[in-house]
Symmetry: C2
Subunit: 220 residues, 2 copies
């Protein structure tokens, strides 16, 4: 059973107050994105990697790989205008059966346990979505009002969103809808049930300078 | 206009894997809880402090205050069996008009800006609740199913939950209901509209060892 990590890295550095795209920011001596590759290798050294990058960043990435003697084999694919199109471009490059883990490039703190949870459930059920319970109370806003809601009803969604390859390729043949906020919502729109598994709390999307400080403490 | 910080510290150290209650854990040379006091002093050095602690921890706290020559004047109040009862005990000690900021003892990273946002809105509207938008997709669970929901409809709630004193004292005279997950939900049940203001993303409730690492980077 082949395992593909489809890593999507399309972010800018705006909220990070960085001049570089945030996936290229140096953390403890190497670009954030390389730590993300390593997280998958920590689970299984036989991962196949597909990396989706904006066209304008591909040369920079290749130079970074040279400078850091980055040896993990991977296919680089040009991103699209939207995340939907970027993932679709990446999925098109996969021609074998197996499981694909679609993952944010700036989530280097995903644990081997989270990846294992996703893998086991996707194998049995066809898909797996890592989530965590919010540690805060939750409020819902509607018509200019807001009200407390039962936080036990809600989960925060992480990646890797994990699928049997054929299943998610078929789902991405749909026309794009604005409700497609992530890969699970694309599959869900075909009528499939989504299976939740436990994520890990540190598996944050590195977005703000504080996140980067935490990452530099936890990565090496 | 008097300003009261009612600080509620009833947590254990279980999820922190600490033998101490987490509010007493040392961060950069002083107990977490002292950093929380400092956050309010950074906004206004005229705050009045009411600290609610479990009965069994009051002696430890007094010793810590001595050891650290902690000089911020504060009233210590015995907590109740539930957070609701603890806050109620604290509110009973306030006999003046003004604004009360009800705050988790283990949120030392609240910014002066968040406190200012709360203060200004509570002055004008009677209450203010600091919130942040989730940075993740959100899923709702119901009847064993789950579905993607529009994350723009949801906010994660922080503290200090801020009120005109009389208003929240009256609300806490209600009988306890299980829906009372925070102070705003207690006021809301009396029919009052709740006003949301912007919190700050670092204002996390220190719960896990990773949170403590971040706090030690951001506090001094």
């Amino acid at each position: 059973m082949k395992k593909y990590a489809l890593i999507v890295a399309g972010g800018s550095g705006t909220r990070m107050k960085s001049p570089f795209p945030k996936q290229f920011i140096d953390v403890n001596g190497k670009p954030l994105l390389m730590h993300t590759f390593q997280a998958f290798m920590n689970f299984d050294s036989n991962f196949e990697f597909v990396l989706v990058l904006p066209e304008g960043e591909i040369d920079t990435w290749k130079k970074l790989c040279e400078n850091h003697s980055f040896s993990m084999k991977h296919l680089v694919v040009k991103g699209g205008k939207t995340r939907f199109q970027s993932v679709k471009n990446g999925l098109k490059q996969i021609n074998e059966e197996g499981i694909v883990f679609i993952h944010d490039g700036v989530r280097p703190l995903v644990s081997a346990q989270t990846i294992a949870n996703c893998f086991q459930t996707a194998l049995r059920k066809g898909n797996a979505l890592p989530v965590i319970a919010p540690s805060e109370s939750v409020r819902e806003v509607f018509n200019g009002q807001n009200k407390a809601v039962d936080r036990n009803r809600f989960f925060l969604v992480q990646t890797p969103q994990t699928f049997r390859i054929q299943l998610i390729q078929d789902a991405y043949n749909q026309e794009y809808l604005p409700e497609f906020t992530d890969d699970a919502s694309v599959l869900e729109n075909t009528g499939k049930k989504i299976y939740l598994v436990e994520g890990n709390r540190e598996n944050i999307k590195i977005t703000y300078p504080e996140d980067l400080k935490l990452a530099s403490l936890l990565l090496y």
